[in-house]
C-alpha cells in the first residue's frame, strides 16, 4: 500500500500533501516525514488531507504528535480538509477543537 507524501513550499509555509490510506501500517511513514521536516527547520507546516482516502486513529495520533512537536518549537501544524468522511473522524474525537482546519491550501497559507 502506497502513501503519497509530497512537499511544497508556499508563502513561507511547508505544505505536506498526503495521498492514500493512513492507517497503522502507513502512518509511521507520515510520522517520519513530519519529524524530518521539523528537523530540517520547518516551523509552519500545513498537512493537506484532501487526497486521503482513509484515516484512522493511528493517523490522528501522528498528527497530534506533529502538532505537539511544532508547538513546543514555536511552530504550528494546521490541516486542509473538506472531505466529510475525514472531518467526521476529527469531529468525533474532538480534534476539530485542537487543529486549525482550512478549506484550501491557499486559506491555510494566507497567514492569519
Amino acid at each position: 500500500m502506497d502513501l503519497g507524501l509530497d512537499v511544497i513550499e508556499q508563502n513561507g509555509y511547508t505544505v505536506l500533501s498526503v495521498k492514500g490510506e493512513v492507517d497503522v501500517y502507513t502512518a509511521p511513514r507520515l510520522r517520519e516525514r513530519l519529524v524530518e521536516l521539523v528537523s530540517e527547520g520547518a516551523r509552519k507546516i500545513v498537512v493537506d488531507l484532501e487526497q486521503v482516502e482513509f484515516l484512522d486513529s493511528t493517523g490522528l495520533g501522528v498528527l497530534v504528535g506533529g502538532l505537539k512537536r511544532l508547538r513546543s518549537n514555536d511552530g504550528d501544524l494546521s490541516l486542509v480538509c473538506t472531505q466529510t468522511r475525514i472531518l467526521k473522524v476529527f469531529e468525533i474525537t474532538g480534534l476539530t477543537k485542537v487543529f486549525s482546519i482550512y478549506n484550501s491550501i491557499e486559506d491555510a497559507t494566507n497567514g492569519e
Binding site: 500500500m1 497503522v24 486513529s57 466529510t84 474532538g94
Partner: protein, 154 residues
C-alpha cells in the same frame, strides 16, 4: 454469540493486512444490501481500529496465531466480529483523555480507537479475558441518524 457466520477471514499478525480486511468488509457491506455509503466508511474505520488492537495484542505476547474476522447478516443488521487470543484488557479501566481544551490533550496520541468504534457503530460489545478478546460490532442496514457529539465520552 454470532448468529449465522457468513464469511470468515483469518489474517496473520502483520499490520499490512488491516487494509485487506477493510477491502473485504466494505465489499461485503456494499454488495449484500442497500446501505448508506457513510455507514460503509464507518464500518471500515471501526474494523480497522479493532483489527489494529487485535494484532497489537498478539504482538505483545509474541503470538503468531491468526486473528479471526467474522461477518454475518441478520434481517436488519450486519454483524462483524474480531477475535484475538491476546491477554485481554479491562475496558472499564482505560484511561480517560483530558478535555480537548486542556493543553495536556496533546500528550495523548493514542487511545482514540475504542472511542471511535463506540461512536461509529450502532452497537458494540467487548468481551475480554485472559484468553483473548472478542469484539462484536453491529451496523443497521437501514441508515439511522446518529448524533456525533461524543466529546464528553472521550
Amino acid at each position: 454469540m454470532l448468529g449465522n457466520t457468513n464469511v470468515q477471514l483469518d489474517i496473520p499478525i502483520q499490520m499490512e493486512y488491516v487494509s485487506l480486511v477493510r477491502i473485504l468488509i466494505s465489499d461485503l457491506a456494499q454488495s449484500r444490501r442497500e446501505i448508506d455509503p457513510q455507514k460503509v466508511n464507518d464500518l471500515k474505520l471501526a474494523i480497522s481500529e479493532a483489527c489494529t488492537n487485535a494484532i497489537e495484542a498478539h504482538k505483545a505476547i509474541h503470538s503468531d496465531q491468526k486473528i479471526k474476522i467474522a461477518w454475518s447478516e441478520q434481517p436488519d443488521h450486519f454483524e462483524v466480529s474480531i477475535r484475538d487470543f491476546g491477554k485481554g484488557f479491562d475496558i472499564e479501566a482505560l484511561p480517560k483523555h483530558p478535555p480537548v481544551t486542556d493543553p495536556e490533550r496533546l500528550n495523548f496520541e493514542r487511545g482514540l480507537g475504542i472511542p471511535l468504534i463506540k461512536a461509529l457503530m450502532d452497537e458494540v460489545s467487548f468481551n475480554s479475558s485472559s484468553e483473548g478478546t472478542f469484539v462484536k460490532m453491529i451496523v443497521f442496514c437501514q441508515p439511522l441518524e446518529k448524533k456525533l457529539d461524543f466529546d464528553s465520552e472521550l
